[in-house]
């Protein structure tokens, strides 16, 4: 039949340039290319950039925003947004600090993560069950979280923290510092979950077309809430690692984290309308963000200019993505 013949040939690109295009049709490849270009430019500009010490430093700096960005990816894939991650990190940090006054480290960490998950459940349930705007609900939770962090901490830093907490960050496993290992393990888990489990595929389907997902029998409500729970819990993990690293907990901790996390996810190619984005893309987005910060520091650029640089990169990244991505997906 004619219909079959017509479009059969168009979907099989031939020749080197076509193959090149096919490879570049993958978003991660494009973003990885951007990251490499950035790395080369920075290494040319600053001889220190490629030193092992600095590279390890880069990984270390990626941990907190990287972990939060995983949860943010889940949320953004469903078409939502979580503005509360920074203040949830602040609040759960304070909860960790207070718990450590009474309990041992494992229990305290578990409490912090559980409270992060509970806050996520609260936001997610409101958003999914009552069909409220994610932006507004998480904005509200953001304000509440920060306010509670101040109240619980008594407006001061908590400093009497058992120094053993430090081990969560500075233990070396297989030659890798444990906080970096945590980051990598979490990314591997998230990658496997999103790509190869029923839940992961459902999150994509819900974000891409909620109505169709419901009609196909997928549990839209559950998988609309789950990402916020993941996001809340991972904010607490990030808060735990920050506290462990500096052995001091400030109610202000995590301020602005939401913007870095959202930026990383967006640079990584996720669509804020949901349904499109990958966890590998997010990881590359995190590296790009951290590299820019690091590079600007190495080059001695004023910290006041860094915001402009990062903002510019975000805008350039989404613009490039829109212009380069296959037409049918727009």
């Amino acid at each position: 039949m004619t219909i079959f013949a017509r479009s059969g040939s168009s979907s099989e690109p031939r020749g080197a340039s076509a193959r090149f295009k096919l490879v570049f049709a993958h978003l991660e490849v494009r973003m990885l290319g951007l990251a490499l270009v950035l790395a080369i430019v920075l290494s040319l500009l600053s001889p220190y950039f490629l030193k092992t010490g600095n590279l390890l430093n880069l990984l270390d700096q990626s941990v907190v925003v990287g972990i939060v960005a995983i949860g943010m990816t889940f949320v953004i894939l469903t078409g939502g947004i979580d503005l509360s991650v920074g203040s949830v990190a602040g609040l759960t940090g304070v909860i960790l600090g207070l718990a450590l006054q009474h309990f041992n480290i494992p229990i305290s960490v578990a409490l912090a993560i559980a409270s992060g998950a509970a806050i996520g459940l609260f936001s997610g349930a409101l958003i999914a069950y009552f069909n409220l705007a994610a932006f507004v609900i998480t904005l509200g939770v953001m304000a509440i979280g920060r306010s509670l962090a101040y109240i619980f901490s008594g407006q001061t830093s908590i400093t009497n923290i058992p120094p053993e907490l430090n081990n969560l960050v500075y233990t070396t496993v297989f030659g890798i510092q444990s906080n970096v290992l945590t980051l990598l393990v979490l990314y591997a888990l998230a990658w496997a979950y999103l790509g190869y489990t029923k839940g992961g595929r459902t999150i994509y389907a819900v974000g891409s077309n909620k109505e169709a997902a419901r009609t196909a029998g997928l549990n839209v409500l559950f998988y609309s809430i789950l990402p916020y729970v993941v996001s809340g819990a991972l904010s607490a993990v990030a808060a735990t690692l920050t506290s462990a690293q500096i052995l001091s907990i400030d109610p202000l901790a995590g301020s602005g984290l939401e913007l870095d996390a959202i930026a990383a996810v967006v640079i990584g190619g996720a669509s804020l309308y949901g349904g499109r984005g990958t966890i590998i893309g997010t990881l590359i987005g995190v590296f790009i963000m951290v590299m820019i910060r690091n590079g600007l520091n190495l080059l001695g650029v004023s910290p006041f200019w860094q915001g402009s640089a990062i903002g510019g990169i975000i805008i350039a990244a989404v613009l490039a993505e829109r212009l380069l991505s296959p037409k049918s997906r727009q």
Binding site: I3, G8, Y196, Y204, A205, A212, T215, G217, L218, P326
Partner: protein, 627 residues
């Protein structure tokens, strides 16, 4: 205004593609001043796209459009309105939160200057009076409160308010009752007389023959017959033009052996799911293809959704294989063996960001329990199914479903459910936006799975398709199942009259009641064919005169108590030899000469019948005035 017959709009060789699919591949259309021009074609032939090009909703890729002798290159519907082109949209484009008046003058809101609400109201009243809706359509009501038919009428009023020179009606009658259609035709006749050019797009051939002067037929995006005199064609010739072959090739004849009876696989009793589903009952047997017929907005889609667990039920009993079945979510229905192809593919079926294969596997994913995916296990099944459905492997491996033609998309969506080997398949408008070639292969697939024992329910607004494809049709009107008829006994006209909304029957009901009361007997309205009656409405004032059938019943003449009168069709009262009932049957027509079936008066055996002639004249007169 130019003189009647002069071309107002000439479209030549218009082309338009959507995402690589050609919707128009060289369409021509000439509309003359003072004519009603039918634009016909099978589903997916490009009628709507051509209409939307002319009305400025989509921009053409190629070809030319001359309007009043000047080249027309519209960039927006607003420009079309400014040049006097209006369109009544198929899918209503109303603002749900605004009032009827505001909606009628919605296009005026886009113009600079101040609006006079008083003037708007007066003009709106005038238009609705022309449409015969001044009593039933409250001007102040919000559009969200209106029924589908009322919305359609507001949409029509909106186009009339523009005083356009060219009006395109895109399937304006899909949710209207016959009476409302008559009023619309009156309005169209007046528009024509005032020098307006009217394009009329419809699936309903009898309407096309009733109202249009000339027709243009599109097939697969091309004009295959341009500006043919309507009178010069008969229905068979027209269908052949539309589909390019005899219709028999598409709807193969009804199966000689109807599926075996026994316990129904799905039994629905008094199903309620407000606001649209009010009281629906039917039985579905294994291997059967059942149609739900009715007008748009009658509650057919919602019935399917309520069965499938997508819509809350408030009453009624559904049994699947004899067991009570009330899924709270589609996943329960899917696991119980039900598949559902929803009406709006883009909105309810396609997940654009997942690959074609994952789209194919989406129903499986919904039914699947467990943490892992288990896609691997499905590979063989997919390959087998693809071979059966004629789905090439490279299409399944495709990146996005959106790049496919409507027909190919629909095949994938149907395959999504067939993969689960359902016991019951529910399909809502399965050939909407599907090209003619793929349509016949979809029919073949449905017949094949029915033959293998799957029970199928099809909703279709194309009555011809519904009758041609199904074994039996349940007619749904205003959310109630009112008739259960073997498809072999139906034709489009009977189905149209049966499907008329009960609400529009009010005047008819009053008329029959008065008739029954005046003569102390029973009155009915029905369609009669050679050996069978299709009762549209029946009222008995005297229980002794009850002919023993109710609205929706379709008995053979000899099964009623007035068989003799029905088969003789005499102009006099006929006494039935077995029941003794005395009855008179009178054929009725609308004031436009449209045949509207037969009205009967039944008197009890002991009564003295009045003079037949006088009664007949009174009935004919009252019926003519009714619509």
């Amino acid at each position: 205004m130019t003189e009647t017959g002069a071309p107002l709009l000439e479209a030549r060789d218009v082309t338009k593609s959507f995402a690589g699919t050609k919707a128009l591949a060289g369409a021509d259309l000439t509309l003359a001043v003072g004519e009603v021009h039918g634009l016909l074609g099978a589903n997916g032939a490009g009628k709507s796209t051509l209409s939307r090009v002319i009305s400025g909703h989509v921009r053409r890729d190629g070809g030319s459009v001359l309007y009043a002798g000047v080249s027309l290159d519209l960039k927006s519907p607003r420009e079309a309105l400014n040049s006097g082109i209006a369109m009544v949209m198929q899918e209503t484009s109303l603002a749900r939160d605004l009032s009827v008046t505001e909606n009628i003058f919605l296009p005026a809101l886009g113009r600079p200057g101040r609006l006079s609400h008083k003037l708007m109201r007066r003009r709106a009243e005038q238009i609705l009076t022309e449409l015969g809706q001044d009593q039933s359509l409250p001007l102040g009501a919000e559009v969200r409160e209106l029924s589908a038919a009322q919305r359609q009428l507001v949409e029509i009023a909106k186009a009339l308010a523009l005083n356009a020179n060219l009006i395109i009606f895109d399937e304006p009658t899909a949710s209207l009752s016959p009476g409302e259609v008559e009023r619309l035709f009156d309005v169209i006749t007046r528009l024509k007389a005032s020098g307006c050019a009217v394009a009329f797009v419809s699936h309903r051939l009898e309407e096309v023959f009733a109202i249009t002067d000339r027709l243009t037929v599109l097939r697969e995006g091309r004009t295959v017959a341009g500006s043919v005199e309507t009178r010069s064609l008969n229905q068979t010739e027209l269908i052949r033009l539309m589909v390019g072959r005899d219709i028999g090739a598409i709807y193969s004849t009804h199966r000689a052996t109807p599926p075996s009876r026994g316990t129904p696989i799905l039994s629905v009793r008094d199903l309620k799911s407000p606001p649209l589903v009010r009281d629906v009952s039917f039985d579905l047997h294994a291997g059967e293809i059942l149609g739900l017929g009715g007008l748009v907005g009658a509650g057919r889609s919602e019935t399917l959704e309520a069965i499938f667990g997508l819509r809350q039920r408030t009453g009624g009993l559904v049994q699947l294989e004899g067991k009570r079945f009330s899924p709270r979510a589609p996943s329960e229905a899917i696991r119980a063996g039900i598949g559902f192809v929803a009406e709006d593919r883009r909105r309810q079926s396609i997940v654009p960001d997942l690959s074609v294969k994952e789209n194919l596997l989406l129903g499986y994913l919904g039914a699947h329990r467990g943490f892992a995916l288990g896609y691997g296990r499905m590979e063989q099944k997919i390959a087998a199914l693809a071979a059966r459905l004629d789905l090439p492997a490279h299409r399944i491996a495709g990146e996005s479903l959106l790049n496919f033609s409507g027909g190919m998309q629909q095949k994938i969506i149907i395959a999504r459910w067939l993969l689960l080997e359902p016991k019951v398949m529910l399909l809502d408008e399965p050939t909407k936006g599907v090209d003619i070639g793929t349509r016949s292969s979809i029919y073949a697939i449905l017949r094949e799975i029915a033959a293998a024992g799957t029970a199928i329910v099809v909703v279709s607004s194309e009555f011809e398709e519904l009758i041609g494809l199904t074994d039996r049709v349940i007619v749904i009107s205003d959310g109630q199942s009112i008739a259960n008829v073997a498809s072999a006994h139906l034709d489009e006209e009977k189905l149209t009259l049966l499907a008329a909304p009960r609400s529009s029957m009010e005047r008819n009901q009053r008329l029959l009641s008065k008739l029954a009361k005046d003569y102390d007997g029973a009155a009915f309205w029905a369609i009669l064919d050679e050996s069978r009656m299709f009762c549209l409405n029946a009222v008995a004032a005297n229980s002794l005169a009850d002919p023993n059938f109710t609205a929706g019943a379709t008995p053979r003449f000899e099964e009623t108590r007035i068989g003799a009168a029905l088969s003789s069709r005499s102009r006099e009262f006929i006494v039935d030899p077995s029941s003794g009932l005395k009855s008179l049957v009178v054929d009725v027509k609308s004031h436009r000469g449209h045949e509207l079936g037969t009205v009967g008066l039944v008197l009890d055996p002991s009564s003295h019948p009045p003079e037949a002639m006088a009664v007949r004249d009174a009935i004919v007169e009252q019926f003519r005035a009714m619509v």
